[in-house]
């Protein structure tokens, strides 16, 4: 178990720079998820830490030790690959024991550890099988067992669940989480799946084109996205974004004018409102209410829409609402009825409104949050 530090890491492949000045500390025992679209450099960062790629510049520390130039085999990290990378010619037992044999541990100790891991991962009846006789979920478990027995300083996961079907993925997610709870090993987990990131992480690093967009707990990145990219990336269905202009009205009141309607600027943005500014406004579908009952609360702002379309998902309805030149997606309870073309009043939760500088994409309120991380 160890703290991991990336210090000013850069990595280029030929002329393409995939990681640009990445610095980050992962605390001892922390579960850190690197989240981003494919090609954003997240896997490269993991592979640099593992010693499978060499950074173009910058330093990597594991614990107090600078590991630049140290061979992968000497870093004492364990990695679970997307393809599991099980040795096809070895049995499950031999697969799990391989790293221990490399360490030249005594036979009895190896056996003890393999049995311990196999029991923990419910593999004890499969130890004599070859990987090709296992299901996807079982292979995944063997890959994890192989990492576990090493008692490595850090666990690395490179999109470990992408090859599984949806049901197994949920199951394995829980197992990974409970395993981390039991073992408490520092873990770095790379994925492009935000659900995995939200459910597993202590902290999430959201990457965009080789740089960090935001670092924070799942709650922070969901409720206080630092910029447009994070706002749109996290959450499903995605956050509504529309253009607006921040304007001062009589009596020093700041409002956002958009598509013919006017929204009062929530108090937490007041400090930042100093001049007329083009902004992007974001609101999650779940923060647009169509139920009459909620209308009295002060932070709810009524807007009259026209219903464009509705999509029944079962428990909820995805409602497409339209006003002026703004189209928004709202979430309504599944038992309500809507007819396309009819008028519909909805209440926007101003407490959950996100306002971003249209030019930089940075939030107007959360600058402090981003800086603190």
């Amino acid at each position: 178990m160890s703290r991991v530090q990336y210090k000013n890491i850069r990595k280029s492949f030929g002329d393409t720079e995939v990681v640009r000045d990445f610095s980050m500390t992962i605390e001892d025992g922390e579960f850190m998820v690197l989240l981003g679209e494919s090609g954003c450099g997240k896997s490269t960062l993991l592979r640099i830490l593992a010693g499978l790629e060499t950074q173009t510049s910058g330093d990597i520390y594991i614990g107090e030790r600078c590991v630049n130039g140290l061979d992968a085999k000497d870093r004492n990290l364990a990695m679970v690959f997307q393809s599991y990378a099980l040795y096809p010619h070895m049995t499950v037992y031999e697969n799990i024991a391989f790293a221990l044999k490399m360490k030249k541990l005594p036979r009895t100790e190896i056996d003890e550890k393999v049995q311990w891991a196999a029991k923990m991962l419910k593999l004890d009846t499969l130890l004599d099988r070859k990987p090709k006789a296992l299901s996807g979920g079982q292979r995944q478990r063997v890959a994890m067992g192989r990492a576990m027995v090493r008692t490595p300083e850090v666990f690395l996961f490179d999109e470990p669940l992408s090859n599984l079907d949806a049901k197994l993925r949920t199951e394995m997610r829980h197992e990974i989480k409970s395993l981390h709870r039991k073992l408490g090993t520092t873990t770095i987990y790379v994925t492009h799946d935000q659900v995995e990131a939200m459910t597993l992480a202590d902290r999430i690093v959201i990457m965009n084109k080789g740089v960090i967009s935001q670092v924070g707990t799942p709650e922070e990145v969901f409720h206080h996205p630092a910029n447009l990219f994070v706002a749109q990336f996290i959450g499903s269905p995605a956050m509504n974004i529309f253009d607006g202009v921040l304007t001062r009205q009589a009596g020093n009141q700041w409002v956002i004018e958009s598509g013919g309607s006017t929204l009062p600027l929530p108090p937490r943005f007041h400090a930042q409102a100093t001049e007329t500014l083009a902004v992007k406004v974001g609101i999650r579908p779940s923060d647009i209410h169509v139920l009459e009952g909620a209308s009295h609360a002060e932070h709810l702002h009524p807007v009259d829409f026209k219903v464009e379309d509705q999509e029944l998902l079962g428990a909820a309805i995805n409602l497409t609402l339209h006003t002026g030149d703004v189209t928004l997606l709202a979430e309504a309870p599944g038992d309500m009825k809507f007819a396309p073309g009819t008028a519909q009043r909805a209440w926007l939760n101003l407490d959950a409104l996100h306002v971003f500088d249209a030019r930089t994409g940075e939030t107007l309120s959360g600058r402090n949050t981003a800086a603190a991380a």
């Binding site: 010693g51 061979d71 990695m79 990378a85 010619h89």
Partner: protein
């Protein structure tokens, strides 16, 4: 194509099949005949071989031919030498070619593509052209008239390295080797414990190709071997053809016996040879 054949009447199709089969049988017979002929001749004496009647029936001179064979050359010594050269050469080939192919497939190093290009290009050069340089090299190294000179230079062959390289690229995922490195295996252990066991199919092909090559090799032993007790079988059989009144029955007997190991080898592993030859091409 298939539809066109189906459109024809069954009789026409049948007739075509018969013609095709007939052609195949004739060409198969033409291929097999020399082998069969040498086996038949090995049972005949010189007199019946050169008599005007051509016979396809076995004669009665087998024992005499065998005695003659042992008299004119150290037959079993030559057979042993051939086996020795082929065995050592094949074993070392497996090591060198698997290492070379693995390196070309896995490592990134400067000049790799150029080197690989030269390697593949050298396959186009007719072997006869390299005979004189080969002779000079062997002479320079002081290896004239030794078996090492017959097998060692042919243990790292471009074709086999190419074969292994293609196989590794297509069939051994990079992640597997990376996983081994993360598990604490060094370069050699990764090659030996992870890559090598997975290369079995292509190694079998390399073994077959190389064994057959060494067994059949005539040109290089001819150039470097000169004492009779070092002769490999191809050389030994050729050498007695200069004798006055060549005992053809004995020579044919020797030829027939020398073919047996290869035929046996092939009949056991023909499936492997075919699958190995195509493995790199079909996968990946």
């Amino acid at each position: 194509m298939r539809n066109r054949i189906e459109a024809l009447s069954p009789y026409v199709v049948r007739a075509m099949m018969i013609v095709l089969m007939g052609l195949l049988i004739i060409s198969a017979l033409m291929t097999v005949f020399p082998f069969f002929w040498s086996a038949i001749l090995s049972t005949h004496s010189r007199e019946t071989i050169f008599s005007t009647d051509i016979t396809l029936m076995p004669g009665d001179a087998l024992a005499a031919n065998y005695a003659k064979l042992l008299e004119i050359m150290p037959f079993w010594q030559a057979m042993f030498n051939s086996f020795y050269v082929a065995f050592l050469g094949t074993t070392v080939s497996l090591l060198f070619c698997s290492m070379g192919g693995y390196a070309f497939a896995v490592y990134r190093f400067k000049g790799k593509n150029l080197l690989f290009g030269v390697l593949v290009g050298s396959m186009m050069v007719p072997p006869v052209l390299s005979l004189i340089p080969y002779y000079l090299t062997v002479k320079f190294l002081g290896l004239m008239d030794t078996h090492v000179a017959v097998w060692l230079p042919f243990t790292a062959t471009p074709f086999c390295i190419f074969l292994v390289r293609q196989y590794v690229v297509a069939s051994i995922p990079r992640e597997l080797l990376e996983s081994a490195r993360m598990d604490g295996a060094g370069e050699f252990t990764t090659y030996w414990k992870i890559a090598l066991p997975l290369m079995k199919p292509v190694l079998a092909t390399v073994a077959i190709v190389q064994f057959v090559f060494f067994w059949n090799n005539f040109l290089s032993p001819l150039v470097v071997l000169n004492s009779t007790e070092n002769y490999v079988i191809t050389l030994a059989l050729r050498s007695v053809q200069n004798l006055p009144n060549t005992p053809w029955g004995a020579v044919m007997l020797g030829t027939t016996i020398s073919m047996l190991p290869i035929l046996l080898f092939y009949s056991v592993s023909s499936k492997q040879i075919i699958s190995g030859m195509t493995s790199g091409a079909v996968k990946g």
